[in-house]
């Protein structure tokens, strides 16, 4: 018995203090305060648990029939009842004070140096810097092959007929990818040591924007705007995820934040401004050019795989009635105008979103052209130019 106790005393603290098992401490003052509160709560629970379960363990051991054949006869004691009602009340009151104080601080969104509007949509984030006229989408960049590869799974390929998967290579890439599922094409860039205010909103269902290292988790609710804030002292890359079930690809909606020094951030803002000018120049050039079918199809395939394949599948077969097949699909081989309308404006009440604000004229033209020439699709009207898309906006 004593040996067992010693062993437990040696192991338990190790386990409790091991980094992997504990809440992430994070990098902001807020996340560290919360970690402190969590630790205090945990220890209060552990101490109460040791006392209660200890008493229980003792009685189980000492008051077994074989050791204690005659039961005692007491079954009421007002004093004891009052004591064990009051003690928890006192403990709770003591705990409530720091929690309430911390909460008041968390809810103080005033005096921010920078405001970012975060808009969730199925299954990506859009970041808008309200002071800087910068806005972009942030999509998960982990390739589907890595996700859908079963290699090494003991049920092997028999059960594993997911499109895009089935490969040992995909699994190897997945295993080697340190940031599997937690990587994006365009991370949110923030300055260090400045109070940043986040406004969260949504275009479709409820999402929730979470970065554990900042201790910021705020729901993004369609039709409403919520507030949160952070102030990150250390530069670095921080990763999180959407935490509110938001449909099929809820697991594939990561948050990546790059925190840079203030100078680097200011430089980045300037770079974005220049890039935007260049892009608008490029857009003009794109729509003045008459593209060949081959050019559009080749760009379109990339756009399709990046944005459309998750629902409609790489082979255009779709998934049931929720995600209709595009191979031979009513719209994909029907009149061009309807196809343009569906891609640009989406279909209300479904997961088919409006792509007009998300993709350039060239990319929309390319993806529509691709869909009308891919697989078995061969409608007469099989190519659309970026200019047409520009005029449809």
């Amino acid at each position: 018995m004593r040996g067992l106790c010693t062993l437990l005393l040696l192991i338990v603290p190790q386990v409790v203090f091991a980094v992997d098992l504990d809440m992430r401490q994070g990098v902001t003052a807020m996340s560290q305060d919360i970690h402190w509160l969590h630790t205090v709560m945990l220890w209060v629970c552990i101490v109460i648990g040791v006392i209660v379960f200890g008493a229980m363990g003792y009685t189980i051991f000492a008051h077994r029939r074989s050791k204690h054949p005659e039961p005692a006869n007491f079954h009421e004691h007002l004093g004891v009842e009052i004591v064990w009602t009051l003690i928890p009340v006192i403990i709770l009151a003591v705990l409530a004070y720091p929690a309430a104080k911390m909460l008041i601080e968390i809810e103080d969104n005033s005096d921010a140096a920078l405001t970012v509007l975060i808009t969730g949509s199925q299954w990506k984030w859009h970041y808008q810097y309200l002071e800087h006229d910068i806005g972009f989408y942030s999509n998960m960049s982990t390739p589907r092959e890595q996700i859908n590869s079963c290699g090494g799974w003991f049920l092997t390929d028999t059960f594993c007929d997911l499109p895009d998967g089935d490969s040992e290579a995909g699994k190897a890439e997945r295993d080697a990818n340190e940031h599997y599922l937690l990587e994006v094409d365009n991370p949110l860039v923030l300055p260090s040591n400045r109070k940043v205010r986040f406004l969260t909103a949504s275009n479709d269902v409820i999402h929730s924007w979470w970065v554990p290292d900042f201790a910021v988790k705020q729901d993004a609710i369609p039709g409403f705007i919520n507030e949160a804030w952070t102030n990150v002292p250390e530069t670095g890359t921080y990763r999180g995820q959407c935490t509110e079930l938001c449909g099929k690809d809820h697991a594939f909606m990561p948050v990546v934040v790059e925190v840079r020094t203030e100078d680097e951030f200011d430089q980045w803002v300037e770079d974005q401004r220049i890039a935007k000018e260049l892009a608008s120049g490029q857009a003009v050039a794109d729509r003045e050019k008459t593209w060949t079918l081959a050019e559009l199809v080749s760009i379109g395939e990339e756009v399709y795989l990046a944005n459309c394949a998750t629902c409609h599948q790489p082979n255009g077969a779709g998934q049931g009635s929720t995600y209709p097949a595009l191979d031979g699909g009513e719209i994909a081989v029907g009149p061009m105008a309807a196809h343009i309308d569906r891609v640009m404006n989406g279909k209300a009440g479904t997961e088919m979103q409006a792509w007009a604000p998300q993709l350039s004229d060239r990319d929309i033209a390319a993806v529509i052209t691709y869909e009308r020439n891919a697989w078995s699709n061969q409608p007469d009207d099989n190519i659309v130019q970026p200019l047409t898309i520009f005029e449809s906006r």
């Binding site: 709560m41 229980m56 009602t85 705020q218 509110e244």
Partner: protein, 536 residues
């Protein structure tokens, strides 16, 4: 009643079987129906959980596509909550409450039949949605708008109808239990003399009657938003998606206690029996249960701290939630005090009851941690929450039910449970339940959101352990099925009293309990000498 029972044996084969079980108004038969129904739903819900855990065995998508994964998660929750835990408790109430208060049957026997027979249709409909175009409901058992309104699959309407039917069943069942307890107690039995199981069920019945209609309102609003042009939950038409969450959790939090209070009652029956000592603090147990029930109506907001609730709301819900720890603590202390200086033996029901107290308390601890709003910002919607409510529900509600089955099965079947098998079930269940759910605390603290089909490498080890544990836990329950069938089919005959120091009216009737008991009200308080003769 008697004439009815005599009439039945004249039919034969299937007709007799059907007319017996379809038309029965006997509380024991309906209790058995409820329990078997709950048991079968437990396996269906469990099979869905196995699918979830298989997929989460390692990173990557191997078996289950994301869209189907969401259906599994949703249906697992719905079936376990409404199909397994709730009907199991109603089944126990049906069997035991009349026996424990000396009533000949439930007060409203035909209603009782109706409440049960709604359920197979409700769940048949819900399960059939797996085979519909667009698949089963996929928005989580909490069916937050607008995922369930604008974006819900077509089968959402079947889900709504199914929930209405379950709700009707629950409310009618609750009314029946309440009326029975208030009117059919044997003369002389005061309310404050009722067994704790009856008390906790009485309070649960009040919770059901007040909470279920709120759920009915919520699903109806979802229905009208979907089909009749209303905008309760859509900001486009002046509504509010967060209002859905307020309404849902106003039902949902009392629901949590609906799923645990009868378990408290069961532990309060079993622990004194095997400690051979009266329950410590009977009155405070009753008051604590009532306080928990009342507080359960003012804490719903703690599910919604990240929705942008104003500071005042967050503080109110935090303080109220913390307050629930007080009566819950009183109950736990009372159970320990009941055991204190008793003379304990550890038959299977006692083992499950003790595990119930310990593991439920662990779930209570994580609940207290979740109540702290700042910390909740980190815990919310992660596996920490999944660990928390599974600790409350599996070793809580489900171990409670299992303890009850082991405790009363000898009375129902006339055979003692083979202790060797019972203990094997207990020890395997206790190992696997912890192996499944304890690592979820760690994956949650490390930052793994709930309801995700795939996860990054950092969560791999904990998920592997959880999945391994879940497979074992699933197999363990097959063992439970085997034990129940084995006990029903035969075994050492049970005495009337079954357990040496069991107290209560249910132990004064023969084992197995005949179809009709207490046709004349038994004397109260129990005549001790008479009981002992029966036991000998």
């Amino acid at each position: 009643m008697v004439a009815h029972a005599e009439h039945i044996p004249h039919r034969s084969g299937l007709a007799a079987f059907l007319s017996r079980w379809l038309l029965t108004t006997n509380h024991k038969e309906i209790g058995s129906l409820y329990l078997w129904f709950a048991f079968s739903m437990f396996f269906v819900g469990g099979a869905l959980a196995m699918g979830i855990r298989l997929e989460l065995f390692m990173p990557g998508i191997q078996l289950i596509e994301p869209a189907f994964y969401n259906q599994l998660v949703t249906m697992h929750g719905l079936i376990m909550v409404f199909g397994a835990v709730m009907p199991a408790f109603v089944g126990l109430a049906n069997w035991q409450i009349p026996l424990m208060i000396g009533a000949p049957d439930m007060a409203l026997p035909r209603l009782n039949n109706f409440s049960f027979w709604i359920l197979p249709f409700a769940f048949g409909m819900l399960l059939s949605s797996f085979f519909m175009e667009g698949g089963a409901p996929n928005f989580g058992w909490t069916f937050y708008a607008p995922l369930s309104t604008t974006y819900g699959p077509d089968s959402t309407d079947f889900f709504i109808f199914g929930v209405h039917l379950m709700g009707i069943s629950s409310v009618l069942g609750a009314i029946n239990i309440m009326v029975t307890i208030f009117n059919l107690r044997t003369p002389g039995m005061k309310l404050m003399e009722m067994p704790l199981f009856v008390w906790t069920w009485l309070i649960t019945a009040f919770l059901l009657i007040t909470a279920i209609p709120v759920l009915a309102g919520a699903v109806t609003m979802v229905l009208t938003d979907r089909h009749f042009g209303t905008s309760f939950f859509s900001a486009d038409g002046g509504g509010d998606p967060v209002m859905f969450q307020h309404i849902f959790w106003f039902f949902g939090h009392p629901e949590v206690y609906i799923m645990i209070l009868p378990g408290f009652g069961i532990a309060s029956q079993i622990i004194p029996t095997f400690a051979r000592k009266k329950l410590f603090g009977y009155n405070s147990m009753v008051y604590a249960t009532a306080s928990i029930a009342i507080l359960s109506y003012v804490v719903w907001g703690h599910h919604m701290f990240t929705t942008g609730m104003p500071l005042a709301g967050e503080l109110f819900f935090m303080f109220c939630t913390m307050l629930i720890a007080v009566p819950t603590g009183v109950k736990v202390f009372n159970w320990v005090a009941t055991m204190w200086r008793g003379s304990m033996t550890f038959e299977t029901p006692m083992l499950f009851a003790i595990a119930f107290v310990i593991l439920f308390t662990i779930g209570g601890f994580s609940g207290l941690m979740l109540a702290m709003v700042p910390a909740d910002f980190q815990y919310h919607d992660t596996y920490f929450v999944v660990a928390h409510f599974h600790y409350v529900l599996y070793p809580g509600a489900i171990f409670g039910t299992m303890a009850a089955v082991y405790y009363w099965l000898p009375k129902w079947s006339g055979h003692m449970v083979d202790e060797w098998w019972g203990k094997l079930h207990f020890w395997t269940a206790i190992v696997f339940v912890n192996l499944t759910f304890f690592p979820m605390h760690f994956s949650g603290l490390a930052g793994m959101p709930r309801r995700i089909v795939d996860y990054s490498h950092q969560f791999q080890d904990f998920n592997l352990v959880s999945s391994f544990g879940a497979m074992g836990l699933g197999l363990t329950q097959v063992l439970f099925l085997f034990i129940v069938i084995k006990t029903i089919r035969g075994g050492e005959p049970a005495t009337d009293k079954v357990w040496e120091s069991a107290e209560g009216l249910e132990w004064t009737v023969p084992s197995p309990a005949p179809l009709h008991t207490f046709e004349t009200p038994p004397p109260w308080p129990i005549n001790e000498t008479e009981t002992h003769e029966g036991a000998a």
